[in-house]
Symmetry: C2
Subunit: 418 residues, 2 copies
């Protein structure tokens, strides 16, 4: 007998085939209906959230969850406004599917098109933030993917209410297929999702390092995301002290718990203003630590590891050894060293005289961010809607057969049309 | 204590960092050196191959390997010429890394570049064909990836000789890093490769369905390839009989064991010339089978499943249920049905009045083929050199910090430069 999760996954697969070529107009109408429904029913969402918060407060008091988890769980007017605006913004973006990426005449009357299309079924596993449902559902709809969401149990009431509103808005959207957005609840569902490579094409974890690591180690479905963000700044011999100081302070203190915050500062041993730099960081309330056991620490706080290095090469080696391939920056006035650093550091983002905190989909101008990937395949760095698409090849002929080419009766001429 | 495979994988990782930004000139020189060395030492390769063939002949006699495995193992003058030319052709291709894919001014003096770069370390697991070493090594070098190859034990002597020649040619290439191309031999090495997600970024299996299935099920490293090729042709109500007959004959008989050969023929129940079509297929020595237990059969032979369907929708559903997402074609004169078929069939290749046999990197004009992928992420369909690359983001500023944008002192203007 089939269990419940398999049924949900099959329904998602079917939905993914139906939404694959749905008109952009219907998708955008669906998104605007969702935004309007959030607007109309926001009191209900706040009430559901209140139930979760009361329960969570008990857990905070008992020391079972942290205050910061509690804060992420909380939906206030500001977060609600951002959530609603986020859906409208996604509706306003260009349709990421159906784009012609290549058009090539292989021979007279035989034309190849590479066209962007959805991936299929996304599995989303996220922790306390209930606004993730709204964001990821909107991104999935816009990119014509079906999605199965598994949220944290702390936000179950809020998630259920948001999902109810989304699905009721989708039902009211003429021509919109069923089961595009589904939710599961149990820990057992997660285990099944990770095994369900028959129906699920991509897993996106949204949460802490441990969650992401667990998922990456326990599935052979592709996973889009990053486990850790151990970002570096290398201050070269020739760096401008003001640039070095202001970039490091920004990268460490502007939002210390972000994955793109700097964790380790590497300083060229001949940088003449090293003392001044370290003093300025301490003035900005950054705690400095120089401990070789901490080269792979992600503090998430105003703490910074630092190390003196012999050369740009040692800095590059250090980053490639201890970094997480997220974002690393060089501060220098030497363009040759900057070029070397950017070419040799094997990270999603390699920066020159800029703060690591710029690693973000909105800042890159992608409109909406699916997440930040440290993968080496499919999508790397801040991932926009494009990361939720793949492509298919359409070949249009008039009875063309391969035998004619093998026998030399016909020849490919491979003429690009765009 | 570290075992041998981990040492090899670490060396590959180090090599991948060194080859990442190697000048195209050196890479091409290395490739031409390899081609010249094959030319100069081909007798040695034939001799090594002879040893493998003698051993293999015994296995054929004992019924332990098939005659077709024996044939794939055999390197003759023709295959050798193709192998050498293949390396020269790859040298002549455009450098796939270092391409600027996006250049965007985020704000005054703050510019983002998305630049293609290598993936890192490739793990290749292949069966009897020793020419795979040459092809994959050349593709890896051209795309600046390091590679670890594990061939079948039947071709061990040939593989070892080819590898010796490759590495000796690489050693003679000034500035070319060590350990870019390495080989492992044992079954245990395969098990370790599949677990080695710390150092290996992409696995490419080249072999039969069972090998690929085994690999996909036993690793959480991304795998590029396809387990099976269950391709379909749907002959619509309005199809031209001559087009239908010649395309199906080509797709089934031109090379029956290819993954892009057709396995199931779907015929619209109202197609008036169905009998004529089936008769013409039988005339071409195609054995026709209509058995619902065989809708997922990959015959690899001149055998074809067939089924009558009620509509284009039933054909689409059948393909999405039983197909392998490889390549499927509609034969019709109805453009509306063709469009529907190409949009709704969830396969890497969706064709209109053309043989499924066109699904091939060379025919698409990609120059060289890494393999054909039925994945839904990274690369789909025939994969060229581009499939061995990913990208990194370079951000160049002059001391830019995020705080200025968060506080509204500065604003992004996101101006595309290319």
């Amino acid at each position: 007998m089939e269990n419940n999760f398999t049924e949900i996954a099959k329904a998602a697969k079917q939905a993914s085939l139906e939404i694959a070529d749905l008109a952009a107009k219907i998708k955008n109408e669906a998104l605007n209906n969702i935004a309007n429904a959030f607007e109309a029913h926001k009191q209900e969402i706040f009430e559901a959230n209140k139930v979760d918060l009361e329960l969570a407060q008990t857990l905070v008091d008992e020391g079972k969850i942290t205050k910061s988890t509690f804060n992420r769980l909380k939906l206030d007017e500001n977060k609600m406004r951002d959530m609603i605006q986020g859906v409208r913004d996604i509706a306003a973006l260009e349709n990421p599917v159906g784009k012609t990426l290549l058009a090539r005449e292989l021979d007279e009357g035989l034309t190849l098109y590479k066209v962007s299309c959805p991936i299929g079924v996304l599995g989303i596993i996220f922790e306390a933030r209930p606004d993730v449902i709204s964001q990821i559902s909107a991104l999935a709809i816009k990119s014509s993917n079906a999605v199965i969401l598994k949220g944290g149990k702390e936000s179950k009431n809020t998630n259920t209410k948001i999902m109810e509103i989304i699905n009721s808005a989708l039902e009211k959207t003429g021509g919109f297929p069923k089961n595009v957005v589904q939710q599961v609840f149990s820990h057992d569902d997660v285990a099944q999702m990770l095994k369900c490579d028959e129906y699920i094409n991509l897993i996106i974890p949204r949460g802490g390092n441990n969650l992401v690591k667990y998922i990456k180690e326990n599935t052979n479905i592709p996973v889009l995301g990053h486990a850790s963000g151990i970002c570096h700044i290398f201050v070269d011999e020739s760096a401008d002290i003001d640039v070095a100081s202001s970039v490091v302070v920004d990268a460490k203190t502007q939002y210390p718990s972000a994955c793109n915050a700097v964790e380790t500062l590497l300083i060229h041993k001949n940088f003449p203003k090293a003392d001044e730099l370290l003093a300025s960081l301490q003035l900005s309330e950054i705690k400095l630590v120089s401990d070789p056991d901490r080269w792979d620490m992600e503090y998430g706080d105003k703490i910074l590891s630092y190390k003196f290095v012999e050369s740009v090469d040692e800095a590059i080696d250090h980053i490639n050894s201890y970094g997480s391939g997220h974002t690393d920056s060089i501060i220098t006035t030497n363009a040759h060293n900057a070029e070397k650093f950017m070419n040799k550091v094997d990270s999603a983002g390699v920066y020159f005289n800029a703060s690591t905190r710029f690693a973000d989909g909105f800042r890159y101008g992608f409109g909406a961010e699916v997440g930040i990937s440290t993968n080496k395949t499919h999508a790397r760095g801040p991932v926009g809607l494009e990361g939720l698409t793949i492509y298919k090849y359409k070949l249009i002929g008039s009875g063309h057969i391969v035998d004619d080419y093998v026998k030399g009766k016909k020849h490919f001429h491979h003429k690009d049309l765009i």
